[in-house]
Symmetry: C2
Subunit: 218 residues, 2 copies
């Protein structure tokens, strides 16, 4: 709890260590899940690999499977951030496209980290196919994303937009993102493939929704 006015210069040493251990746990959890399946890994195994006690593990994450959420939410956070910072003259659809490209295309100083996060996401999605509990984490992440998307879209839309319609738009945009990731994870393309990468797929999904949902004829 920092009640400091102004931008905090540096998170205290303790804070940094906490963030570091959380990330460490998440990394090992994802690696173990991808290798042996979530059912084949114990919480104690993750804790040992991360160098913490079992008790500490459960102070960071409520369940064994949720340990991977930091890796899954990384791209989403950036997506929301870019979307919230979109210029006002863009249409909602354009803003969504740009933000998606920015969030799913490994670029900038953290390109390596982003590509790594995408790869581990793919590994987790594949492991989630055979593991209901792990799959639920994926669903939960997107449920929270959908919720977080509502006020952001509200900011980008006319102020008299029907709240229900706003929520539907959030669900649709989120579904596009989710399905793009799932489709990409099922394939072979690398995270920076210009044609079959996640960014390209996500844009296709967004356009498919805004154009094609009002399905033509029977």
């Amino acid at each position: 709890m920092t009640t400091r006015p102004g931008a905090a210069a540096r998170p205290s040493l303790t804070e940094r260590r906490k963030a570091e251990t959380e990330r460490e746990i998440a990394r090992h959890a994802a690696e173990l899940f991808s290798a042996h399946g979530a059912a084949g890994v114990t919480a104690e195994g993750i804790a040992q690999a991360a160098g913490v006690s079992l008790r500490t593990f459960y102070r960071y994450f409520r369940t064994k499977e949720e340990a991977v959420t930091p890796l899954l939410t990384g791209g989403v956070r950036q997506w929301l951030a870019e979307l919230a910072a979109a210029p006002a003259e863009l249409s909602v659809a354009e803003a969504l496209e740009r933000a998606v490209r920015g969030a799913l295309t490994p670029q900038g100083p953290h390109a390596d980290l982003q590509a790594e996060a995408l790869e581990s996401t793919r590994g987790l999605l594949r492991a989630a196919g055979g593991d209901p509990a792990l799959h639920s984490v994926w669903l939960r992440v997107h449920a929270e994303t959908e919720e977080a998307l509502v006020p952001v879209l509200g900011q980008l839309s006319r102020q008299d937009t029907d709240p229900l319609e706003l929520r539907l738009a959030a669900a649709a945009a989120n579904a596009a993102m989710r399905i793009a990731m799932e489709t990409w994870a099922a394939g072979e393309a690398g995270p920076d493939d210009p044609a079959r990468g996640p960014a390209s797929l996500a844009v296709r999904c967004l356009r498919g929704l805004t154009a094609g949902v009002r399905t033509p004829r029977a």
Copy 2:
């Protein structure tokens, strides 16, 4: 008890008993969850209320929370069934609307059962708000619905429809159904309210998606 001659029971006695106990477990689970929250109920408690052993409980359901899935999937099953039986001359949007009305409007010989299922769904959704594990069940049910929706929509669409687009349409239709239920559960209207009932809301959601997602301007 002796089987009644005449009124032919196609499924054997054993089969009927299994279906009965499953339903019994689900009913008691939903009731207990709605009353005390999922976290405040033990699997043993549900088993005792349903009159089975704990071991038997876990033969029917993999987890404590999944015990309520039969109640949540009831409406969905009917939705898919009606959709699959839609006349070919209807557009996809019209078919979706009709099927939704049929599935969410208590009617016919089982109107009471349907209304009861809707009510328990509402209770469960409210309990799920404060319980991640229970909420995950809701999400999982809809994830499976989305998957099941793909081939059904494929049947209603042109045969050269892009599979990705099909999947997006399934996700959108499913999201409309889900959000309608969540919105209804958060309100006060009864299950057969003609204006604010689930059926009416679902139709509004479907139309909002097919018309409004291609959101206009900022």
